[in-house]
Amino acid sequence: MAFVEAEPTIELLSVKALRFMLVSRVLDDKFASLYRMGKIHGGVFLSRGQEALSVASALSLQPGDLYAPLIRDTAGRLAFGESLLDPIRTYLGSALGPMRGRDGNVHWGHPRLGMYAMISHLGAMISVVSGGLLAHRLQGRRSTVGLSSVGDGATSTGAFHEALNQAAVEQLPLVLVVANNCYAYSTPNNRQFACKSLVDRAVGYGVKGVEFDGTDLETCLRELGSAAARARSGQGPQLMIANLLRLCGHGEHDDASYVDPNLKTSQVGRDCLEVAIRKLVDSKTVTAEDVALWKSRAIDDVERAVAQGQREPGPDPYREDWSALSTEALVERNWPQ
């Protein structure tokens, strides 16, 4: 993990990250507009304000690592290596998407490639990552890291606790990233937990805990890079608490009018994308023109992918096999329909 130590490398990484963040933001804007036009089935859930953390999570991983993104991880999913078409096809219900129209919005993944397809139940993916890590350990593949992403609200679930404790007992190389965006839907942190900081939980599990600024890309890259390196080197689970603010509603149906205006103007309320651009331009790592170009390319790419997604067929219910079992002999087809 040399990149977290040498200055030039973090710059390159930041640029790479920025480009995914730009795509993610453009994609979010597009989803928001498709939603308003009534072109999306069901809800739309955006990542605004969380792109730096998300992309840094994915970029901390290496080929063969495991990744369980959650609701606000469009940037991370792209950085993990998936195609722009995947989220688009999923939202649009394309039969050619990874979920084939069966599941939608934020519920996609590529489990064969180490990217899990989240279920909605909060906290439920963490132990799944642990299972993947245990599998690798039993298979003698000891250098794998697994990263699981959750929100502040998910920390109140029993699943979160059981999974983190379990990973600690097994000393699994799990990086558990908590995006503390100050709210779980409308519920503020002070109705969600009573500790000063969620990082105070780490000691109670006997794991390393780090709290950091989730609005600063470089910080996210450094902290998550180090965490993955620690996990990889056998130091067990890493509880990573990133502070930031959700710069959108819980879903696009939600105007988020409950968000405390003071938070919006505080450090956590900074837009990580703007911060990253400003810093990278100021440090002359990139130029404003670069950014404008990447953004316009991102817009083109997104438009093209959406157009393709919209041309693609949805699933055909009469050609579905309607079978939840892979063992064909065990599928019951004799229910009267």
């Binding site: 069966r102 519920h107 839907y185 519920t187 969600q192 409950y258």
Partner: protein
């Protein structure tokens, strides 16, 4: 005055809070925000301190409800989507459901579950959970299909001393309008003849009552008169009403939106076959969702669940048997 099914649920809670000091509401985002579906809109303001936001902790939410109920209160618990009640399930079935039988002390909880499929909601925001809860002793499971029932049955749920799983159908929230009815109300646990017919009995509940009624109207055009029985409460089941209907029509089509193995349709058909065998002029029929998770895409979803069309098709086949 015509209001929506969702407004009826809000109004029932407002009335329960107003009439009974023991009532309080606990759930995620139910307070100032008014709930994910706005079923508790303004209630936190109207009843300060009695509409309480919970952490995302379904097990602890229901455990707390049990303790509060034993402690003399009448908690109403809102779980954001029925699907998430799986993680609070244990407290409901093993704690609330066993309490009266074990200790002699009732445990009056109302668990509000926004249930059932809506287009584009997918596998984890569409489930029907009534069969899972109804299997366990000690719970009452209500599945209101009308605005008036949503209102009055929720008031009933809060009043009775036993834990009630209140399955509100999300598809009806905004679209179904009606008035609160007046005069005589059916007792808790009684089914209702939603439409009178002579050729077959379509027994169902929740949103499927409306699909069945639509099917019945379509069938009427073909001279087939379907009786529609709205179960209202799936545990207990009003076997007498069901069998009386089948006795009149000789034919049973039982329709449910849940998964096909077990559940309400199996229980209804098994009871009618066992206790009303001689009234049956043809084999009883069932129509359920398909045996897969609930699909996201509207085209898949429309075929996954029974619909007016598939109900009418089944009914046509049934009357020809």
């Amino acid at each position: 005055m015509s209001i929506t099914y969702l407004e009826a649920i809000r109004e029932a809670q407002a009335r329960a809070l107003a009439e009974d000091d023991r009532v309080f509401i606990y759930g995620q985002d139910v307070g100032a925000f008014g709930g994910a579906f706005k079923a508790t809109k303004n209630l936190a303001r109207e009843f300060p301190g009695r509409v309480i936001d919970s952490p995302i902790s379904e097990d602890a939410m229901l455990g707390l409800a049990v303790g509060a109920a034993i402690g003399g209160m009448r908690p109403i618990i809102e779980v954001q989507f029925a699907d998430f009640s799986t993680v609070g399930f244990n407290q409901m079935v093993n704690q609330a459901g066993t309490h009266y039988w074990r200790t002699g002390m009732p445990c009056p909880i109302t668990l509000r579950l926004p249930c059932g499929g809506t287009s584009g909601s997918g596998p984890f925001h569409s489930q029907s959970m009534e069969a899972i809860y109804a299997h366990y002793p000690g719970l009452v499971v209500m599945t209101p299909a009308t605005v008036a029932d949503a209102y009055h049955m929720l008031l009933d749920a809060v009043k009775i001393d036993d834990p009630v799983v209140f399955c509100e159908h999300k598809l009806l929230y905004y679209h179904l309008k009606g008035d609160l009815g007046s005069g005589d109300r059916l007792a808790v646990g009684k089914a209702r003849i939603a439409r009178v017919g002579r050729d077959l009995s379509i027994v169902t509940y929740g949103a499927m009552v409306h699909e069945a009624t639509k099917a019945a109207e379509e069938l009427a055009g073909e001279g087939i008169e379907a009786e529609v029985v709205d179960l209202r409460t799936v545990k207990p089941l009003d076997t007498d009403c069901i069998i009386a209907s089948v006795a009149r029509t000789g034919r049973l089509l039982c329709v449910g939106e849940a998964y096909p193995w077990g559940g309400v349709t199996a229980e209804v058909v098994a009871r009618v076959a066992g206790e009303g065998f001689n009234f049956l002029d043809a084999p009883p029929m069932r129509l359920n969702a398909k045996d897969t998770p609930v699909p996201y895409h509207p085209d898949l979803w429309a075929v996954h669940r029974p619909s007016a069309r598939s109900i009418a098709d089944s009914a046509r086949r049934l009357v020809q048997m």
